[in-house]
């Protein structure tokens, strides 16, 4: 820190009235001018002196062994510096172990340490050259001989009677074609979201149901496909100091991983990742290509830049797994849920267990006394699946809402009415109250906007010319996640301020919301505040994932700004030379670059207070800590909190809970979710099966909306993803070879501009005093949720076809 900067530790005063002129306004995103003019540098665009280029060689086979490698012709290419094989790539000093929320390995498999091949696309070579062209060419001509074995990739291996080779699993001994893991990803599944859970009598209660619905839904492999290719530049500044420019949603986690894997102190590793060209989950965890690049750079003694090819993106940074959900719902004759049973089956790699918790939404969406959930995994020759936008909810809500819609038709009850009959008035997991829940209001407002009452529930009953029209809807919900976050806010004697934290921005508005919160708390115009993000040298912010960053970092920024304001107020009121001298601290607010007495007319510019004290600038650090750093039980949205008044600042710069822990445990638990409803109108060509979505309408209650312009953009984007899940996205596996067949932008279908209909987004006022001091629930994930179910139901309403396999194709409609 420069001379004159201090970090305050005094206790701020929260009673000063909050101003409301910056937060909640639709400011343009901070980096917009730089993005539209091409001036913003993304990871692979940051220069490094002496830079050379790395290119991965990946396995064309999915299972087998490397029997021989010939690198001679590659090494003869002019400009090639080094061709690494599994025999010559330096070994990691330490291997990935159990992942946790502060490291997040995408996969615990370490390729290039032996000849084994366990998935197609696995790194088997690494070329470094002076030029990109030389590296790419040399990578193409490394010659391998393989002992190729038949890969196992089919989800249907989970069918009864199929052989199961994993002898280490209990399922093998029991003669089952799958295994049922107790825990995945340090509790991501088993800790907060038990995969094998029973509520009440579980599936046994289905026997008492008067109405039954049983179905199997099949969902395809999906890939994140951010526009920016995954990339990094590794720079060894000294033999034991590493700088990495990385496309990362989680700079601190990457730093922690590098330190661990390389045996370096964390302070010797710096990861820079400010602006990322989309992530959607695949840039959250660290993957093998990253540490291979770091190892290669150390070996060649020069900075190495690696940019994955688009094709490599399909086998290098995870995917959303193919999955089948077998669902049974049982209700009474009025449609009230009596029991639900859901089993997810999906493929997982040979070397570890991973699954997104698609059964999880069944545990929170509706009131139901009896519930059973199950996860079955099938060993396969694939890379590890990973988090992809709304992991768990995207497939899980989709299937549950499809089932509810089918049930509504079966019962002859309006889909909204059926949902109201099953509304969960309390948090179904433990019976505690919700922090806030506006689901009914979302139904009502959405129904009003789309004139739901005009929907004819009879399929094939509405036409527009030749086209069959249909309408459908779904409930939407996402858990509020939160994680420990720190931020620093600094004010300078020239009246400007800046906020800083290590978080990256994947297109979400990190810098913008930090500026807004800082400006509001310090009473400054938005334009006077800047933000610095995306560098592990800054205060530690959490991952940009799970819609948790604005909630967590927003609260930390709020804390830092309030501490700074409080420090300034104390400086003024205790200084005889200040016009504010002697005033009680709670009678002073910040406004228009001044501290101002309330009521009254005394005021003093902040820069004058700083100058008199001899400061060129003054900083405060803030912290938001929901407790139990990294513990899975504390990542979920169902923690123990007192009421809003219990958020208190303490002297050691922490926001902590106060109150009686016993009372908290008894009364303070809250279910914390954001809510919404989504409605779809589709037109289906009865002769060609072509589905055109005409209109998508989403109404959301997501807590406090920091910036409606940016939040609406994220929701529109998320809804577009939901449409894509319903109608476009599938990575197709060639089951014979275990390879994805359409690993490119031409054949992996995603919506283009002409596919996108009218999309309407509306936010309801949702003040939630419980979620966090910033009142934010997050909007990054919720947009995708439920949309596909609304479209599927609209297609049924148009055609009478009940489709249970996504994406829906024209031939399925015919």
């Amino acid at each position: 820190m420069e001379h004159g900067m201090t970090t305050t530790t005094t206790s701020p005063d929260l009673s000063a009235p909050a101003q409301t002129n910056v937060v909640g306004k639709g400011f343009a995103r901070t980096e917009a001018d730089q993005k539209v003019s091409g001036a913003l540098r993304y990871t692979a665009e940051i220069p490094a002196p002496g830079l050379c280029y790395g290119v991965l060689v990946t396995s064309p086979i999915a299972r087998g062994r490397i029997m021989g490698v010939d690198t001679r012709s590659s090494e003869a290419v002019p400009g090639v510096l080094k061709v690494f094989t599994h025999e010559t790539m330096p070994r990691l000093p330490s291997h990935p172990e159990q992942p946790d929320w502060d490291i997040m390995y995408g996969s615990n498999y370490v390729p290039m340490e032996g000849p084994e091949i366990v998935y197609a696309g696995q790194p088997i070579g690494y070329v470094v050259a002076e030029t990109l062209e030389a590296a790419q060419y040399a990578a193409e001509i490394v010659r391998y001989t393989f002992d190729t074995q038949t890969p196992v990739v089919h989800l249907d291996r989970a069918e009864p009677g199929a052989p199961y080779p994993d002898k280490t699993q209990p399922g093998h001994a029991a003669g089952l074609p799958y295994h049922e893991p107790d825990e995945i990803w340090l509790g991501y599944v088993a800790g907060t979201l038990p995969s094998h859970s029973i509520r009440g009598k579980g599936r046994a209660a289905l026997a008492q149901a008067e109405v039954r619905l049983d179905g199997s839904w099949k969902l395809s492999y999906n890939h994140h496909n951010p526009m920016e290719l995954v990339a990094l530049t590794a720079v060894w500044e000294t033999p034991d100091r590493l700088l990495v420019y990385e496309t990362s949603q989680t700079p601190n986690n990457f730093r922690n991983a590098y330190a661990k894997l390389l045996g370096l102190p964390r302070e010797n590793v710096r990861v820079v990742s400010s602006y990322v060209g989309g992530g959607f989950g695949c840039k959250g965890p660290i993957w093998p290509h990253s540490w291979l690049t770091v190892l290669a750079a150390r070996e060649v003694g020069r900075p190495v830049r690696l940019v994955l090819s688009r094709q490599q993106m399909y086998t290098s940074v995870g995917h959303r797994e193919e999955q089948r959900l077998d669902v049974s719902l049982g209700t009474d004759r009025d449609g009230r849920l009596v029991a639900m049973d859901v089993t997810k089956t999906s493929p997982t790699p040979e070397f570890e267990d991973w699954a997104e918790p698609a059964w999880y939404p069944f545990t929170f969406m509706y009131a139901c006394p009896n519930l059973q959930t199950r996860l079955r995994l099938v060993r396969a020759n694939i890379q590890s699946p990973t988090f992809m936008r709304a992991p768990g909810e995207a497939p899980g809500v989709m299937v549950q809402e499809c089932a509810i819609n089918e049930l509504a038709a079966q019962l002859g009850v309006d889909p909204i009415e059926l949902r109201l009959r099953n509304h969960a008035d309390v948090y179904p997991i433990d019976g505690s109250p919700w922090s806030s829940k506006l689901l009914k209001e979302c139904y009502a407002r959405g129904a009003e906007r789309v004139e739901w009452h005009k929907r004819n529930p009879e399929p094939r009953s509405v036409r527009d010319g030749r086209m069959l029209l249909g309408m459908g809807m779904a409930s939407v919900s996402h858990t509020v996640y939160r994680k420990r976050a720190a931020a620093r806010v600094t004010i300078a004697a020239d009246g400007s301020a800046h906020a800083a934290a290590s978080a990256s921005d994947i297109g979400t508005g990190t810098a913008t919301f930090m500026r807004q919160i800082t400006a509001e708390e310090l009473g400054l115009p938005f334009g006077k505040v800047t933000a610095l993000i995306g560098d592990t040298g800054l205060p530690e912010a959490p991952m940009q994932a799970g819609a948790l960053l604005a909630a967590s970092l927003g609260s930390a920024t709020l804390d830092a700004a309030r501490r700074l304001r409080s420090r300034l107020v104390h400086m003024a009121v205790s200084d005889r030379e200040s016009p504010l001298h002697g005033l009680p601290a709670d009678r002073v607010i910040a406004d228009s670059g001044c501290l101002v007495s309330v009521p009254g007319t005394a005021r003093e510019p902040i820069h004058a207070i700083l100058r008199r004290a001899g400061f060129t600038e003054l900083s405060a650090e803030g912290l938001f800590d929901p407790g139990g750093l990294g513990h899975p039980g504390n990542l979920g949205g169902h923690e123990t909190w007192e009421d809003a008044g219990s958020w208190r600042h303490t002297g050691n710069t922490r926001l902590v809970r106060t109150g009686d822990p016993k009372r908290d445990a008894r009364e303070g638990r809250r279910g914390m979710h954001s809510w919404g409803s989504v409605f779809a109108t589709v037109a289906v060509d009865p002769d060609f099966g072509l589905i055109r979505v005409r209109r998508l309408t989403g109404v959301y209650a997501c807590g406090r909306i920091l910036n409606p312009k940016l939040a609406e953009s994220q929701l529109i984007g998320g809804i577009t993803w939901g449409m894509s899940q319903a109608l476009f996205e599938a990575t197709h596996m060639d089951r014979r070879y275990g390879r994805f067949m359409n690993s490119n932008y031409a054949e992996y279908l995603m919506p283009v501009n002409a596919d996108v209909p009218t999309i309407e987004v509306e936010f309801l006022e949702d003040p939630d005093p419980y979620v966090n001091p910033a009142g934010v629930k997050g909007v990054g994930e919720i947009g995708i949720i439920g949309v596909a179910a609304a479209i599927v139901d609209a297609v049924w309403n148009a055609t009478g076809k009940r489709l249970r396999e996504l994406p829906i194709t024209a031939e399925a409609v015919l």
């Binding site: 343009a28 995103r29 980096e31 917009a32 001018d33 730089q34 993005k35 539209v36 003019s37 091409g38 001036a39 913003l40 540098r41 993304y42 692979a44 665009e45 220069p47 002019p78 030029t131 990109l132 062209e133 030389a134 060419y137 496909n225 951010p226 526009m227 920016e228 290719l229 602006y275 990322v276 060209g277 989309g278 959607f280 940019v307 090819s309 688009r310 297109g507 979400t508 312009k709 940016l710 609406e712 953009s713 994220q714 529109i716 984007g717 998320g718 809804i719 577009t720 993803w721 490119n744 932008y745 031409a746 995603m750 919506p751 283009v752 501009n753 002409a754 596919d755 996108v756 999309i759």
Partner: protein, 173 residues
């Protein structure tokens, strides 16, 4: 192979500036501007001509820079996003993208904007599209359907399409 047989001296005219470069014959216009001229506003999303993130103007017409070899464009005028406007002096299309928040991560945005600028020119020239009702007509009415169709060569994974259409319609006025 000798160096001379695999590389050539190329004169690239980019944003009004002439650059004399010795380039590998395999170097694309995309890699030439990004790696050799440090003009990184042009983005690499697929390197296969499938996403449009690398769209630049070649003699005023939009092309995928990843599909054009640099040795083939000597003497032609290349305009990249940096040549349209700078952050202190934005092109009207760039301004409209900011005003409408027609971007999120921003990685497809330079390509979208270059594409949109050329697309407006194509429409003014009367070039029809797949949704033009009267392909022999004199003029094109650039409604939302026309903009969507003509901008469908530029992928946006964040899903900013709705606002992209609004921004282009605004800039077209």
């Amino acid at each position: 192979m000798s160096e001379a047989s695999t590389s050539s001296l190329v004169v690239l005219c980019v944003n009004g500036n002439r650059h004399r470069l010795h380039l590998d014959h395999r170097t694309t216009v995309l890699d030439a501007v990004r790696e050799h001229l440090d003009l990184t506003g042009t983005k690499k999303g697929c390197d296969h001509g499938q996403c449009g993130a690398c769209t630049v103007l070649l003699d005023g017409r939009r092309v995928n820079a990843c599909l054009v070899l640099a040795v083939t464009v000597g003497g032609k005028q290349i305009t990249t996003i940096e040549g349209l406007g700078t952050s202190g002096d934005l092109h009207p299309m760039q301004q409209a993208f900011v005003a409408q928040d027609a971007l999120q991560c921003g990685y497809c945005t330079p390509g979208q904007i270059c594409s949109a600028v050329a697309m407006l020119h194509e429409a003014r020239q009367g070039w029809p599209s797949a949704v033009t009702a009267d392909v022999a007509g004199e003029s094109i009415r650039l409604d939302d359907a026309e903009i969507r169709e003509r901008m469908s060569g530029n992928l946006c994974r964040c899903g900013a399409y709705v606002n992209i259409v609004t921004a282009i319609a605004e800039a077209a006025r």
